[in-house]
Symmetry: C2
Subunit: 243 residues, 2 copies
Amino acid sequence: MRFNSQTSCDGVSEQLFTLGEIPGVLWTPEGAVGTRPLILMGHGGGQHKKAPGIVFRAHRFVVERGFAVVAVDVPGHGDRPTDEEYHRIATENQARVEAGEELAPLIAGFQALVARQTVPEWRAVLDAVQQLEHVGVGPVGYWGVSLGCGLGVPFVAAEPRVRAAVLGLGGALASAEAAGRITVPVEFLMQWDDERVPRAQGLALFDALGSAEKTLHANPGGHGEIPAFELDSTLRFFARHLI
Amino acid sequence: MRFNSQTSCDGVSEQLFTLGEIPGVLWTPEGAVGTRPLILMGHGGGQHKKAPGIVFRAHRFVVERGFAVVAVDVPGHGDRPTDEEYHRIATENQARVEAGEELAPLIAGFQALVARQTVPEWRAVLDAVQQLEHVGVGPVGYWGVSLGCGLGVPFVAAEPRVRAAVLGLGGALASAEAAGRITVPVEFLMQWDDERVPRAQGLALFDALGSAEKTLHANPGGHGEIPAFELDSTLRFFARHLI
């Protein structure tokens, strides 16, 4: 793990790092000492580790709860080189949609493929970040919607360090099987008028989650229109399970 | 409006009253002076104005937010005399269920019938309680699940003083039409394994709500098993919209 820069803003320390080929960013309270809960955040499709929504949420997690937050670029996103195989599949899928195929199963298949790479990458990131003195081996949470849900479900299912997860804007096609192996508390976000994930698919993914404690929060609006008050709920959810 | 008793416990003043033939109870902060938000709570079927769940929620609304809370016995419940017509219909419905008819449409029809009486009753209760100096004409919220939802949906649709409502454990059969006329923010509670309200019926009622801001909170478990953390969410929801 190599640190490339460190800056501070409004009480939040931001460290850019690379772990092997993975570019990442770690946010912690300025001057943080000792172990704290760590949230791994997965970004959406076409976004990256420092997408505005990721940065905004990370700052609130750090400032209001003293958490550490880590995010990395998914293959083919942000500061990572174009992945030729993924690029080829994405281009093919685009052509298939234009030829009249349904989008959801294509997205599902693609996310399952990428997850085979990101699950071990994210586990390695946890290993590395938890060795830092100002993070330590505390409880871990996962936050990710849309692509961050498609990749997050198999990650949360595979990683016993994750004790609570916020997931959503994803459907059962991609990850119902892995969802059934999740047993930690989950807050699941759905957009009632999601133009990308059919309502029945979202409900089926919530239904498939194996967790005894799982809460579905559904709100009106399209894929990108999660209301602001859900972030307050997310903060309380993680505080309830990680502190 | 006639007050029959006043007691205090843990900072909460409890006043029993009758308004015409309606027995009711009003909870306010001990020594309360001046106008405050008022929550009308509808109880469940077979329960009454002082059912343990109602009292527990009322105390938290009063102690943590300074709200006033009012609850009354629904016809045929609590301190009200047996209503012969309702009793006859309930007995007939029981026989029809035993003969193999579906329960949900029978409940829906019965609740619609009772609502024709309770909507004007509850409006009269609001009129009377808001004349009290320690309640006043502040913002009004409604809380009710199960029977309290079946009666609450037409009430919230009809009563412009209600600015926010927590509803749930109800289905579209009873009240989809009235739900479409509701425009205030709604937090809607569903139990994912509800043995009395089919899942599709609950989702359809949420869908039918006309509100631009509505949030579905669905949790695993049966009809009576809403998790405790939802009350925290309810408190924040009312605080957001009534304070």
